[in-house]
């Protein structure tokens, strides 16, 4: 729907960096979606020590890892895991964060004030640590990693969305709806919330980058998906003993992570410029 408009905008502005970034995110999402059609799960996880640590070649374009598995196949499957973890965690963080932000922005009383104070207190805590605590409770794995990232991002989202809602509910159209007898729920969801849609899309894109970054860090620590699941951070952790002799085992997943996170951040920034051209001047 709006995608074509956004890409056209990037072309008109000759923003080739953001265009490349959009292309990279598209490639990443396709790899994640079509991974089962491209390679079977068996070849991403089967250990064959005879082919361990081969440098990149025609049969293994990115080489093989310390257990003889093809790096390209593992990276493509890793994209699928990364995307699922990132998307689901962002959905959790955004939906709960927006609900708390809405309620605390729309109703101003002691309860919502106390909730926001608590959220502010939580924001002061490093997210990596919050996520580690959640993983400690739930145990390591794909699901708990997803929940850990999602839950630890809720406070920041609640605060981010409360501001605009606080401002929007004092605007004429919201007051008019109230004067016409609309219920609180209908004012919030059909009048106020649609006005934050651009913020939701921009924040969602930037949070995806953030979720991938934090998730890979936790996986690197061994708190994410367990072997033989091909997660990029975990792949780096498993192969790091061989970094000196076979740098490709680190660089393939590491560059994949860096490029994908960078792409999401650049697309998010470009989206912000597209939606609100004034923000570019503020930079």
């Amino acid at each position: 729907m709006q995608t074509a408009g956004f890409l056209g905008y990037l072309l008109r502005r000759r923003n080739y960096v953001a265009l490349t970034a959009a292309l990279v995110t598209l490639m990443f999402v396709s790899a994640a979606v079509f991974a089962p059609l491209l390679f079977d799960w068996e070849s991403a996880t089967r250990v064959s020590l005879g082919t361990a640590l081969l440098p990149p070649s025609l049969s293994h374009p990115l080489g093989t890892d310390e257990l003889g598995r093809d790096m390209l196949i593992r990276i493509v499957w890793g994209a699928r895991i990364t995307l699922v973890v990132a998307v689901v965690s962002v959905i959790i963080a955004m939906s709960v964060g927006i609900i708390i932000g809405c309620l605390c922005g729309y109703h101003e009383n002691w309860l919502t004030n106390a909730t926001m104070r608590f959220m502010d207190f939580m924001i002061a805590f490093p997210r990596t640590l919050l996520a580690i605590i959640v993983v400690t409770i739930l145990g390591s794995g794909v699901l708990s990693l997803t929940l850990a990232i999602g839950l630890s991002t809720i406070p920041a989202n609640a605060r981010l969305f409360r501001g605009p809602i606080l401002a929007l509910k004092r605007r004429q159209f919201a007051l008019a709806a109230k004067a016409l007898g609309a219920t609180d729920a209908s004012i919030l969801f059909s009048h106020i919330l649609p006005n934050t849609m651009s913020l939701i899309i921009i924040q969602g894109t930037l949070l995806l980058a953030d979720a991938i970054l934090i998730g890979s860090g936790l996986s690197f620590l061994g708190l994410g998906p367990q072997p033989p699941i091909p997660e990029w951070g975990a792949m780096i952790a498993a192969a790091r003993a061989h970094v000196t002799s076979h740098p490709h085992v680190i660089f393939a997943p590491g560059l994949a992570l860096f490029v994908v996170i960078l792409a999401f951040n650049l697309v998010g920034d470009a989206l912000r410029d597209y939606v609100d051209p004034r923000s570019r001047k503020a930079l």
Binding site: I123, A124, F125, P126, R127, T128, L129, I132, I133, V135, T136, I137, G139, A209, L213, S216, G217, F220, L221, G222, L223, G233, I236, A237, R240, V243, T244, P247, I250, G254, L257, F258, I261, L262, N265, L266, D269, A282, L283
Partner: protein, 306 residues
Amino acid sequence: MGTYVLRRLLTLPLMLLGVSIAVFLVLHLIPGDSARMAAGPDATEADVQQIRVNYGLDRPLAVQYGIYLTKLLQGDLGDSFQTLAPVTEDIARTFPATLELTVAGMLIALILGVPLGVYSALHPRGSADRLVTSIAVLGISMPGFFLGLILMLVFASVLGWLPPTGRGSCAHLVLPSLTLGLPYVATFARLTRSNMLDVLSEDFVRTARAKGLSWSQVIYRHAMRNASIPIVTILGLDFGRLLGGAVIVETVFAWPGMGRYMVDAIMVRDIYVVQGTILVFALSVVLINLTVDVIYGIIDPRIIYS
């Protein structure tokens, strides 16, 4: 000012109490039996039960918390299941290492970031300015462990200039603190730049110039002081983030800090260690935020706390 600091300090025990209850509850909700974990795979049912009794794990939750709190007030965080050493001893050994790493990382970000930001504010649209805006996004996109491994590969393995892992000399500190601090350089630079630009357009800067002060005096005595207020705010928040990042950097460089100690304890469900380390992390974050509030007052005497 004095009463404000005092009042904030008085809320500190209350916050700690809240944090201790939260951490205590959270860790008792963990599925999995830590007593069985501590007893090892070959333990009999009687052994496991004995450990439960020894550590008081068979008592009601409220009683367990009461015992935990009493001990906490006496500076006793319990003993590790793994090493059998008191957790406080391990924290006393590992926390300074984490603090050293975090402070060094912060200093790198500040020492490189703030001057870069001032310079690009004074030369808008120059090459430094363009550099700052373009490397900021690189900084927030780089996973710390990947950056660390690259630095280790280049400066330790290939060039052999610096030791790859461990703690000890200043040379050991260089790579871990660079890994931690570099991603924040551009963030600080960008923040300094935008604050500096705001301040430089204010009337008092023009007045200071008009009364004959040199540019450097105006910048360092008038503009910098005003521009640094928002930087101090971010400094407080980023200190927490660096503390969290230190957990990952410690793993990369085998730095014997509290983050690594905590993660190792999580793997084997050594609850007293996890409890103790999280408590100390929380305490540091609370203290840092308090310090930041006090620093505000010093930089900007207009702030009156009510």
